[in-house]
């Protein structure tokens, strides 16, 4: 009887509840310190993670460009950050960072996180969101107008959105680091060249390893 009463009142372990967890011995479980993204009454807007004050310089790891120069994120006009030739609005022709096998691999991973939902594994614009048919039609990265874009323009599209922010695609500057954005550009170039390679280039591949095509080209992005 008593057991039934108690279970009736308090339920079983693991039963769903809308009420916040009980803290049986709440010794210092909750301290009056700031934790990210929690409400906080100290500030008028009630947010603990305040928006950055204008002119705030983020503590950051600099990116090293091809010239060996260290570039910080706050140097917003530097070609590495802006994707533009210094002192002009022209796009950089080529990526200002060194590109290696590791960088392309990193680009592939980052592309898989942020780009695949719309542009698809192959870059043909047939990502899941496009295929759902809910009004989103992502660009085919093998489209000649995109293939002809310079690295700088691709970088700016990844960072600030298509058509400098006026297009459908939004910018990913807040979500993806500068070096990762350039890595994504490098991987997009690799994707594009997979469809543009000439027969002669393929023959070079075959000559290197007779009768085989590098297996790495055919590994799926994710299981």
């Amino acid at each position: 009887m008593l057991t039934l009463l108690v279970v009736g009142l308090f339920g079983l372990r693991g039963s769903l509840s809308r009420k916040p967890p009980l803290e049986v011995f709440p010794d210092m479980d909750r301290q009056p310190k700031l934790r990210p993204m929690e409400p906080n009454r100290f500030f008028a807007n009630g947010i603990s993670s305040q928006p950055l004050v204008e002119g705030t310089v983020a503590r950051s790891k600099p990116v090293t460009d091809l010239a060996g120069q260290k570039v910080h994120p706050f140097q917003v006009d530097h070609p590495v950050n802006s994707g533009r030739v210094a002192g002009s609005t022209n796009y950089l022709e080529l990526t200002p960072l060194s590109v290696s096998r590791e960088v392309v691999a990193r680009g592939r991973e980052r592309y898989g996180i942020s780009c695949v939902p719309c542009h698809g594994d192959l870059g043909d614009g047939q990502g899941m969101v496009t295929r759902l048919g809910v009004g989103m039609a992502a660009a085919n990265l093998h489209d000649p107008t995109i293939v002809r874009m310079t690295d700088g323009q691709l970088y700016r599209t990844v960072s600030f959105g298509s058509k400098e922010g006026a297009g459908v695609m939004k910018g990913y500057a807040a979500n993806v680091d500068v070096a990762d954005r350039w890595a994504i550009v490098a991987y997009v170039r690799a994707l594009q060249s997979s469809k543009l390679a000439s027969l002669d280039e393929l023959k070079i591949h075959e000559a290197a390893k007779p009768g085989t095509v590098p297996a790495a080209l055919f590994q799926p992005l994710k299981n």
Partner: protein, 216 residues
């Protein structure tokens, strides 16, 4: 001088003892059953301001966890995405849907969406997300199969015993780094004893149980 106490009082000490044992046993059972995160934490499923479904986004659409929680590899804290991240798609997809009104309002007015935090370690626990996900510990170990939940609920206890269990047997939980965000990963051919121990050794995973690893 006779019969001040009726005869049944002879059994009183026995009755007190039996009653005490029964009551004590009941209280002990109750405390054991209820005074634990297995009861207090597990099953917590608050009502969120927006009925966001992880099942649709992470499960059916197959989006990577890091599309939204992009800080998880770099920070001790796994961030809730800004409304602008939602608007990357929802400025086109379901752009006038009523369910997304709080997101649009947050995006326009730059005010936070009042999401309710579900998984909360005590403030004296210094859990670090990046340390775990960058060393082969998957989201699924602490959060459960989020990709199958329409509404997120507290699935694991996140008690101290829960942390220590894993710290003592990290090689059983560790997985290849590229599978950390694949919550459906099956460990085919990846055995804890061989591959698990080898990977733990390679990544320098010690799974220390020293107090100062988590408390400082």
């Amino acid at each position: 001088m006779s019969n001040i106490f009726p005869k049944w009082t002879n059994r009183l000490p026995l009755l007190v003892l039996a009653g005490g044992l029964l009551l004590g046993g009941g209280v002990v059972t109750g405390v054991t059953y209820y005074f634990t995160p297995k009861y207090t934490n597990v099953g917590y499923q608050p009502l969120q301001p927006v009925s966001f479904s992880h099942k649709i986004h992470a499960g059916e659409l197959g989006m990577d966890c890091r599309y939204c929680h992009n800080g998880v590899e770099k920070s001790w804290f796994s961030n809730i995405p800004a409304a602008s991240t939602c608007m990357n798609c929802h400025s086109v997809v379901l752009k006038d849907d009523l369910r997304l009104a709080p997101i649009r309002e947050s995006h326009e007015k730059q005010t936070p969406v009042p999401w309710v935090q579900i998984h909360k370690t005590p403030d004296y626990v210094y859990f670090n997300h990046s340390v775990h996900v960058n060393r082969g510990i998957s989201c699924v170990h602490c959060h459960g199969k989020i990709n199958e939940m329409d509404e997120v609920r507290h699935e694991k206890t996140l008690s101290m015993a829960f942390c220590l269990d894993c710290h003592r047997t990290a090689h059983e939980k560790i997985r290849p780094l590229e599978q950390v965000y694949n919550l459906n990963w099956k460990s085919d051919g990846f055995t804890p004893e061989r591959e698990g121990r080898a990977l733990a050794g390679k990544l320098g995973v010690e799974g220390s149980t020293s107090c100062s690893v988590c408390h400082r």
